[in-house]
Symmetry: C2
Subunit: 391 residues, 2 copies
């Protein structure tokens, strides 16, 4: 007989994962994939990692990651003012994996997590698996509205309500909105975390994909008590596929996260490859090149939107991978998506970015993956799809 | 102030993960690492994967894995009689990751899982994170005592007690005991799964590390209703570090597992590398060589034990990586471990392999990693440590 598949509650509502990517005729402005034309040749580094380091790279790795890479990461984030001991760094399979481990370590069903409204859709997917409740906070051009957060926390404290355990944010070139949290608000966030005793998960993948202006000090650099878990990744710097990211925390938290890694240590081959690539100075050059390329992509996308969909509104971000677009009137982007796919373009609809239902006439366009010509064509198709839906 | 770290219940008791491996002066007979002297040169394959396939291998991969690798895996397990569609195969970061995803998909706190007594220690570590309860079943030379299982299940059914959702076993060269589940018992397991409606997780990493005799048909090949999740891995075939394993299931289960992968898709670089290595016929040759090498290691270890610790008892396994040793009298292997480490040898004590406390005078010795000379020396040190503890 066919088994009665008694799925766990956390898994009952997950979407069935697609086995494949979109066919090439679809202009892909959905997920934040890297620009394929600009992938570097990492062949020599891969060969040396597999051949010369084979007793390290083919063997099980230490659960916390290669010691040399953890030192390299500590120095790398140290250049931005984050003082972290290599022993307090853990290598993970991309920043999402770090967020999952943070939840596994701290979050019980029903616990409250603070998120912006909107927030990163994959973070919501992970939180959902832990059956959390949300405290959603609005955003403006300076990022999360920290005054609103302070008010809501004070109300909860007065009411004796459950206080949040974690706050999650992407402070630099926020996903999906592209805004950057102001320096003053970063300081206030740390003060609030101190007062109400929660941890901050600072997800910072886009900080080096900067087109204009100067970076702000990471929240982790303002924290002296081990309240900030910093998530970083090589995915947005050079190669999403290699699945190497990191968490900066305390030694205690890193050690416990290591114990919770269900796959043992992360892959040492990709760790060694990226370490040598970084040491050779190649990472820095590549990131500089990519920031120029993505700035060009952003400009092309913004210009195409202004021409093709002149009643759409958006902020032009100073870095990162995305434009967050508001369509006029009542265009429901969940309804728009299948029409757009039929016209040959993919985007992510608003609904994916709200922990609880929110405005439906927004969408996220990634300008990272498609070529400039592709972006222009993609917006043309999107305009047609909107016209069809409206007409 | 220092944050009050409110760990989740599932994480409160996890051991702090070690940042590093043992120093080289320790003879490592603890975890089942691969023999480092025999690692192949995968340099060319790594280079080609990173260079010629870069738009695939540096980019985010499909969540279920590379389509070509899923086809390859379906054909690979097909040679053992497991009929599975490539769409029902999911690539994971090692078999442990597959077990974790199975739990994430099916297991609620309090659910019952059937395990052998003893069972694989890392499986217990994963189950613990899901706050399961156990139905522990004894083993003899033919593997899990299926009569005992049938009796216990019938009792539970009569009493209206909660029935298990999953059964976990390593039927071929069991970890840690090395025994193989008989063909008759495999059939009865499938019958019991049908009658009592549970799923079987068949963890089968050692099947090709065979020294004598003929392989038995996998449990998955006896199942026609999608009741068996088959776990496989390249870790025990060629390179633990590459962290590529698989689950064979149904399309529905594979798709849902893919959605639950917190890190998105698994690394496409290591997938491509192993695929080309397999296609070139190199994997098959390597596995054949490794089986010979490990057979030699097993013989050396067994011989050293007979000489140095003649009152120890053990079964000589026909494959796999481990000897499961019973020490005479009341030698508590949890107490023995620090003494053995001081003498320069590591093993895994009995306590790690029992879901609930069991006999303490057993230990698992891995013969995979250490050289023949190292194994002999390791047993000499172990004998001294036992002498010291007894004396």
């Amino acid at each position: 007989m066919t088994p009665a598949l008694r799925y766990a509650r956390r898994a009952a509502n997950v979407a069935f994962a697609a086995g494949e990517h979109d066919p090439p005729e679809i202009v892909m402005m959905g997920s934040g994939d890297a620009y394929p034309e600009a992938f570097p040749d990492m062949g020599e580094f891969a060969m040396r990692a597999a051949r010369d380091f084979r007793t390290e790279t083919l063997q099980y790795a230490p659960r916390l990651g290669l010691a040399e890479l953890r030192e390299w990461i500590a120095a790398y984030v140290g250049r931005e003012g984050v003082r972290v001991d290599p022993d307090a760094v853990i290598v993970v399979n991309g920043a999402k994996h770090g967020l999952d481990l943070a939840c596994k370590l701290f979050v019980e069903p029903g616990d409250t997590i603070v998120v912006t409204r909107p927030t990163y859709q994959s973070a919501l997917g992970i939180f959902r698996g832990y059956e959390v409740t949300y405290l959603e906070i609005g955003q403006d051009g300076d990022g999360m509205d920290v005054d609103e957060l302070a008010t809501r926390l004070a109300e909860r404290a007065r009411a004796g309500a459950a206080m949040p355990k974690l706050l999650y944010d992407v402070p630099e070139f926020h996903n999906p909105t592209g805004v950057t949290l102001s320096a003053r608000r970063r300081e206030r966030l740390v003060e609030l975390a101190e007062r109400y005793d929660f941890l901050i998960v600072e997800d910072d993948p886009y900080r080096r994909i900067r087109f204009d202006g100067e970076p702000l000090a990471p929240i982790a650099s303002l924290d002296t008590n081990g309240r900030v878990l910093g998530l970083g990744t090589f995915a947005k710097l050079v190669a999403p596929g290699l699945r190497v990211g990191w968490v900066t925390a305390t030694r205690d938290i890193a050690g416990r996260m290591g114990a919770l890694k269900s796959d043992g240590g992360s892959c040492p081959l990709t760790q060694r490859l990226l370490l040598e690539y970084g040491r050779a100075g190649r990472l820095e050059l590549h990131v500089r090149d990519m920031a120029k390329i993505y700035a060009g992509h952003r400009d092309v996308l913004a210009e195409a939107l202004r021409r093709q969909i002149p009643d759409a509104t958006f902020r032009v971000p100073s870095g990162g991978y995305y434009l967050w677009v508001t369509l006029p009137g009542h265009v429901d982007t969940d309804r728009l998506l299948p029409v757009a796919l039929a016209h040959g373009v993919r985007f992510l609809p608003a609904s994916q970015f709200f922990a609880t239902p929110g405005p439906t006439n927004r969408l996220r366009l990634a300008y990272s993956y498609a070529s400039p010509a592709g972006l222009t064509e993609g917006v043309r198709r999107l305009a047609r799809a909107i016209g069809e839906l409206r007409g």
